[in-house]
Amino acid sequence: MKIVLVGMSHRSAPLEVRERLAQEDPAPALQKLVACAEIDEAVLLSTCNRVEVVALTRNLEAARHRLRSFFRRDLAADEGLSRDVAEHLYVHTGAEAMRHVMRVASALDSMVIGEPQILGQTKDAYRTAVECGACGPILGRLFQHAFATAKRVRSETRVAERPVSVARVAVDLARQIFEDFGNKRALLIGAGEMIETALAALRGAGLESICVANRTPERAAELAARFGATAHGLDELAALLPGADMVLTSIGGDRPILTPELVSRALHERRNRPIFVIDIAVPRNADPEIDRLDNVYLYDIDDLGAVASQNAEQRRRETIRAEAIVVEQQQRFDGWFAALRAVPTIRHLRARAEAIREREVERALARADAGGMARDAVEALSRSIVNKLLHAPVSRLRREAEREEGMAYLEAARVLFDLDEDAEAPGDDSADGPDGE
């Protein structure tokens, strides 16, 4: 059994590629994937910064190939994108894949290191995989370890103590554009977790006038009520935009809702006062062309990430401690996983020993019934069991000892049977028995 991870993230692929692979509902794709013979278990994580599949397989090469084609054919919609996808994919296997899952859950691989959203997104991905039957006990255990790692990183290091969320970076940037927030108005488009975080950050920064626009006005109303903002439907966007100094958008949809025409009109109406647009949606909600407008400052998720990474050096020391926790947790899981690999062998060994025992007991009882002495029968029984149990390993040891590489077998035998305790004992002679039999 091997764990393999294939995916792309903000580190390997530009937003233009990532946004076209993002899955709002990963369940159908996941079910299709686990229906393949090469994949035993799988979890698909799709966020604005990454699309990754973690899978459990018995055939690593075939699974790697299958997962690559899953990205190219099943997730990428067109031929051109398929080529792009191939360029940006990364593959991790074994311990590296385990460590990656733990780093992702702990927000150490995030664009904004220590950000709080990724843990929730990873939990959602795990839950979806469990619900659609794609995640079994082994990946389940891996994800439980990943969540425990994230918890330790948060409690034992200061990586997440002052969470540098995307919203926080956006507020810092807004301060470079606007002198004071007291007389400014923010328009938040969407009503998801990102918008909620942004709403709290903007309120904390002193912004008093905030509007929330969403496709489902009820959800917007609920969010707005909690933060003292006003709620609107998405159809009011054109009317709201001229009054907005800052627009933060994170809403689902394939097409940009902030078009150059709409924003130009708003700029004209607001007499060219600047608009700061923060687009944290994937796929993007704002047409990149609006950045060409003179008084518009557009930052998408990659731009914000680049800004956040400028602060990365300050957090380096804490990140090193967090990475050490990840390695420790990965080794724990790896130990459990390795022990899991020995289970079928141990079971087989036990079954063989039991079969030998049963057969030899039957033979001994038959001999006793035939009038043999009880002591002789028991002696013969025990000798026969020992000889039969040791026959296969001793024969193999003799054969392997003739080769240079075979020394590993001798070493393993000494360890397995704990022979170093009794190195001078005449055990070697007894080994001749089964062979000679």
Partner: protein, 263 residues
């Protein structure tokens, strides 16, 4: 006394600039506040020096060095007033050395030559130089704010907002400085031009004598009139306003100083 006060003001400005630089390098906000205090002290000292100079008879303001010193003082004072309203403290590192250069240049030329060449024209020359210099100083502040706006705008557009050696004020603050400097500077320049015409009238009997200085000054004023109209009546965007402030001031410098040198 005037010389000593000028030298003293120059020294304070220089120290303010160094402390401001140190406050950014360390960084230490407390040192930044000390730099602002030193700049204010320098302005008081500079103002006293200027007041004493002003009381001299005849007032020697038509001397270029005296005018530059006055412009540095007006610009510094205007900056200090704006500092009360906006987060501009980071700019002390630029403003203090500029004020130092202005007052240092004046201190080197002291005592000034006076206005012997325009004797007998009353207080018009004095009013003209005073008002025009103040206008020029404020339009210079607008130019500096415009220049910083363009740098900051470029940085934000190129998505590298944190890589900046100097913590520039927000775009909005720079735009407000630009607008305020233009709003005060342009009327001062206008009154300066009018008093200049009065001065010419007092000397020649005509309001217009057709000298290159008069012609180019009138053109520069007309350029600024158009820029001010675009800014305040047509709601020009902040970046265009910044470009106008830089371009307009470059033209004004050419008209006032460049033409004098060339002709």
């Amino acid at each position: 006394m005037v010389v000593q006060l000028h030298q003293f003001a120059a020294a304070i400005y220089l120290i303010a600039g160094l402390v401001a630089g140190l406050s950014l390098a360390v960084p230490a906000p407390r040192l930044g506040r000390v730099a602002v205090g030193l700049l204010a002290a320098g302005l008081v000292c500079h103002g006293l020096a200027f007041g004493l100079l002003h009381s001299a008879a005849p007032p020697p303001l038509t001397d270029m060095a005296a005018a530059v010193s006055f412009m540095a003082w007006v610009g510094g004072l205007f900056f200090l007033i704006l500092l009360l309203r906006m987060r501009l403290a980071g700019l002390v590192v630029l403003v203090a050395p500029m004020a130092f250069l202005g007052v240092f240049f004046a201190a080197l030329r002291l005592p000034f030559a006076g206005e012997s060449s325009v004797g007998g024209s009353g207080s018009w020359p004095h009013a003209h130089v005073l008002l025009s210099s103040a206008g020029l100083a404020l339009l210079g502040v607008a130019c500096l704010a415009g220049l910083l706006f363009l740098i900051e705008h470029r940085r934000l557009k190129s998505k590298r907002p944190l890589r900046r050696p100097l913590p520039l004020p927000s775009l909005e603050a720079l735009d407000r400085v630009n607008a305020a400097a233009l709003a005060v500077g342009f009327p001062l320049l206008t009154v300066g031009v009018v008093t200049g015409m009065m001065w010419v009238q007092a000397v020649t009997g005509h309001f217009w004598s057709g000298t290159p200085h008069e012609t180019w000054s009138a053109v520069a004023w007309a350029v600024y009139a158009v820029l001010a109209a675009a800014r305040f009546a047509r709601h020009q965007g902040a970046r265009q306003a910044a470009l106008s402030a830089v371009g307009g001031f470059a033209f004004l410098l050419f008209a006032v100083i460049g033409v004098e040198i060339l002709v």
